[in-house]
């Protein structure tokens, strides 16, 4: 990995799959790139997924090489656990203020041996597993994390000192402070990705309240071989679910919860999870309630047909209500549109809400960029220059510009990198003399 400098060609905000793609594309072209990530590891949402549609590739298997490539690239400086505080235009470039949050250990000497984590007596619900598993107060974010360095969660730490005693390189530093760093960059790429709509937003579905009404990303973790349970169990009582329902448009295309747009990925991820569930659990019944199936990408319609052929039941109708029966089972109330409008109440072991995507980051107070009504970055030239924002020299890629799947995010991040490269060349921004 490159050393930290005070001047870069481009700064990429966000170390998910789109941000990594943009950084790699620029780095390969000879530009010096600073890749800033808010959390302790790069990889974003994708590294936590089980498999990806429509190929059913193992997500972390294709994501981790990109992570390693980004981390080891000679012209990419990785700055994890760092927040962008301010970005101001200076000439054709920008001056950025970054806040490097302390890991409470010496990152240069930490060897990622995991001794501290094993010694730590505090257990905390693990964010990476959406609270289903546990981690310690000092921990390596997850098995595929890059960098493989521990981070101390100072909010939960009891300062018992056990980690300090076992650390073979004595790198623990309880007195660490946040550092503020200033850098000059020639261009900025925003790839700040997504959040999932809060589970409790549609009150009628009981998300966040009923334990067996699940977040789809948590379902990804449960299905993953390195997930919290190691097999598919339902959270409330550890029972193997034999009947599972997916509620589509649970957090999209719904003005009553303020998300009028289609999130574009839910149909496919739900079909993928549903199909895999039929592989993982013997004799499971998986039902997917939908308003419209939007399988628009390459090979997606075929994937939809395959899922139906392999036993996923698809039912047209918007679920209106989920209530808990005895024994943590759930009852769905839905009008069956293809059965003469009959109102059906059906019991399930587990319900997954196909929550929509919302912006992962709002630029207010940091960088003077416009966002659209839906909260995603405004792209005034969406047709011919889809990565242009409302500020010249700042480009956007991935879900930050609007909901999209991984292939589209990668294409768009590459476009943003190309647009940034053109901008840097046009403005004659030079961090150092490039070998011609």
């Amino acid at each position: 990995m490159a050393e930290m400098r005070d001047r870069y060609d481009a700064m990429v905000i966000g170390g998910g799959i789109a941000g990594m793609q943009a950084a790699l594309d620029l780095g390969e072209q000879g530009f010096e790139v600073l890749l800033v990530e808010r959390t302790p590891s790069i990889g974003g949402v994708m590294v936590g997924l089980n498999k990806v549609f429509p190929t059913l590739d193992c997500s972390s298997c294709i994501c981790t090489p990109r992570m390693a490539e980004s981390a080891h690239h000679p012209r990419i400086r990785l700055q994890t656990y760092t927040e962008v505080r301010q970005v101001e235009p200076v000439g054709t470039g920008f001056r950025a203020e970054l806040e490097c949050k302390p890991r409470y250990l010496n990152e240069d000497t930490c060897i990622g041996c995991d001794e501290c984590e094993l010694a730590c007596p505090v257990e905390v619900p693990h964010e990476f597993d959406y609270g289903l598993g546990a981690r310690r107060a000092i921990y390596i974010p997850h098995g595929n994390a890059i960098p493989q360095k521990a981070v101390l969660d100072v909010e939960h730490c009891i300062f018992c000192g056990k980690c300090e005693k076992v650390c073979p390189t004595t790198c623990i530093d309880f007195a660490a402070e946040p550092r503020t760093v200033h850098v000059d960059v020639g261009a900025v790429i925003v790839a700040t990705g997504l959040d999932i709509l809060p589970m409790g937003r549609k009150v009628e579905y009981g998300g966040g309240r009923l334990p067996n009404v699940m977040n789809p990303l948590a379902m990804e973790r449960i299905q993953s071989s390195n997930g919290p349970y190691g097999r598919v169990l339902r959270p409330a009582d550890g029972k193997i679910p034999k009947s599972i329902a997916y509620i589509q448009c649970a957090g999209s295309r719904d003005r009553s919860i303020g998300v009028p747009y289609c999130s574009r990925v839910c149909c496919m991820y739900a079909l993928k999870q549903a199909l895999l569930l039929t592989h993982y659990i013997h004799g499971v019944e998986v039902t997917l309630y939908y308003m419209d199936i939007r399988a628009f990408g390459k090979g997606y319609e075929q994937f939809y047909r395959r899922a139906v052929r392999e036993g996923v039941r698809v039912v047209k109708g918007k679920v209106a209500r989920v209530t808990e029966a005895d024994n943590f089972d759930l009852i769905l109330r839905v009008e069956l549109l293809d059965e003469g409008g009959r109102v059906d109440e059906h019991r399930y072991d587990l319900v997954v809400l196909s929550q929509g995507l919302i912006p992962g980051w709002h630029p207010e107070g940091v960088i003077d960029l416009d966002v659209a009504d839906d909260g995603f970055f405004e792209t005034p030239e969406i047709k011919l220059n889809p990565s242009f924002t409302t500020m010249s020299g700042v480009f956007v890629g991935g879900v930050a510009a609007g909901p999209k799947d991984i292939p589209d995010a990668i294409v768009e991040a590459g476009e943003a990198a190309m647009a940034a490269a053109n901008y840097l060349t046009r403005t004659r921004w030079r961090t150092r003399t490039h070998a011609a």
Binding site: S256, K318, V319, L337
Partner: protein
């Protein structure tokens, strides 16, 4: 197979009746599934909205479902498209009223404020004329009948003799019941047509008649709604008791209720109850419609306002009339007497057979019709599904 004609103007028509969000619905079925009243064969609102969208006015006319909705607003507040299904149901009820009404007057009143206000004003003038014209003709009634004694003390026996007013009450009541009854019979005929080939024996028609009384008296199905139901149901129930109390006092017990000058009779206590409930509850409802906080108060048609304002003014003029009489102030009493009737009579004539008040008949009758349909269906042999039948033939 019954054939239906598509009515392409239905969408625009329902917009005129207050349902302006029809185009927003994309038929996801959330409203029907979220509705606690929607079950079995009576599913709504989506089905009704679908009829509106595709212009099936005949099917709409055959549906009792709009009258089963009490507008709790849950469907509207959870609608993914903000299509306001609750308000579309409300507009459908207005449209149905206009179709049940054979005179065509109801339609004019709903669609034109000029007609509504004009007819109310005209009826008010007719009432006024009743207190003026007979006097000119030398009959002992109205303002001409006020002599020296009636100018000194309240003498309603001279100004508006109970005997005459009482027979007027009965005439009006008879007229209203007749008009309402014809509309109710038309409603039954429309809905029966919608039952198609279903055999409904007379025993079922007669056996379920008690449903009209039960639902008319209690509106108990409302309690299965989702949103602050109990409070709304209770307020509505109190309003009805207040209104029925006044109706009984005026139509049945007028000889006791209408007294001379400072004469107090115990029936006045019932009158106070009616006045307090009507004034209080109409005020609450008007405040709700102004604040627009609850889903069911967010949209107000002219007819909704007219209903509340006239009811409120009737009770207000009534209690003022009572106070002036007790104070033995003759002229204010006579003027208020006429004013009270100039509000109450037009209100009854316009609202009961042609306006919002007729829900007092259509709602219980709809419950009855649904009960009849279900009972008749239960007597039918279970039909074999078409696919299975085809399979059997193939074998």
């Amino acid at each position: 197979m019954q054939h239906y004609r598509v009515d392409p103007t239905l969408g625009n028509e329902i917009a005129a009746f207050g349902g302006q969000t029809l185009g927003r619905c994309f038929s996801c079925g959330n409203c029907t599934a979220v509705c606690g009243l929607s079950k079995g064969d009576t599913v709504f609102p989506r089905k009704i909205i679908r009829y509106l969208q595709v212009g099936l006015s005949d099917r709409l006319l055959e549906s009792p479902e709009p009258w089963l909705c009490y507008y709790c607003g849950t469907c509207s507040s959870t609608c993914p498209r903000n299509a306001e299904p609750g308000e579309l149901m409300m507009a459908t009820r207005r449209w149905l009223v206009s179709r049940y009404d054979w005179t065509g007057l109801s339609r004019r009143l709903y669609l034109s404020e000029a007609w509504e206000l004009g007819l109310l004003a005209m009826m008010a003038l007719v009432v006024l004329a009743l207190f003026v014209v007979p006097g000119w003709l030398g009959l002992p009634f109205g303002f001409k009948a006020i002599d020296a004694s009636a100018a000194a003390h309240v003498r309603l026996d001279l100004f508006a003799p109970t005997r005459i007013v009482h027979s007027g009450d009965w005439t009006l009541a008879g007229l209203l019941v007749l008009l309402l009854g014809i509309n109710a019979v038309r409603m039954v005929a429309f809905v029966r047509k919608g039952m198609g080939q279903l055999k409904v024996p007379l025993s079922v028609w007669a056996g379920k008649a008690y449903e009209i009384a039960v639902h008319g008296a209690t509106q108990k199905r409302w309690l299965q709604c989702d949103n602050d139901t109990l409070v709304r149901w209770l307020l509505h129930f109190l309003l009805v008791t207040g209104y029925v109390t006044m109706l009984l006092l005026v139509v049945v017990f007028l000889p006791w209720f209408q007294r001379e000058h400072a004469d107090f009779h115990f029936t006045a206590i019932f009158g106070y109850y009616g006045t307090v409930t009507i004034l209080g509850i109409t005020l609450l409802a008007m405040r709700g419609r102004l604040r627009k906080r609850e889903q069911y108060y967010r949209f107000s048609h002219v007819s909704d306002w007219m209903f509340l304002v006239l009811l409120f003014l009737t009770a207000l003029s009534g209690i003022l009339l009572h106070i002036f009489r007790l104070l033995d102030m003759p002229w204010p009493t006579y003027v208020l007497y006429v004013a009270h009737l100039m509000i109450a009579v037009p209100m009854l004539i316009v609202e009961v057979p042609f306006g919002k008040w007729n829900h007092l008949v259509f709602r219980p009758v709809a419950q009855y019709l649904v009960a009849v349909r279900e009972a008749a269906q239960a007597r039918q042999p279970v039909p074999v599904p078409a696919t299975r039948r085809a399979h059997a033939v193939a074998r």
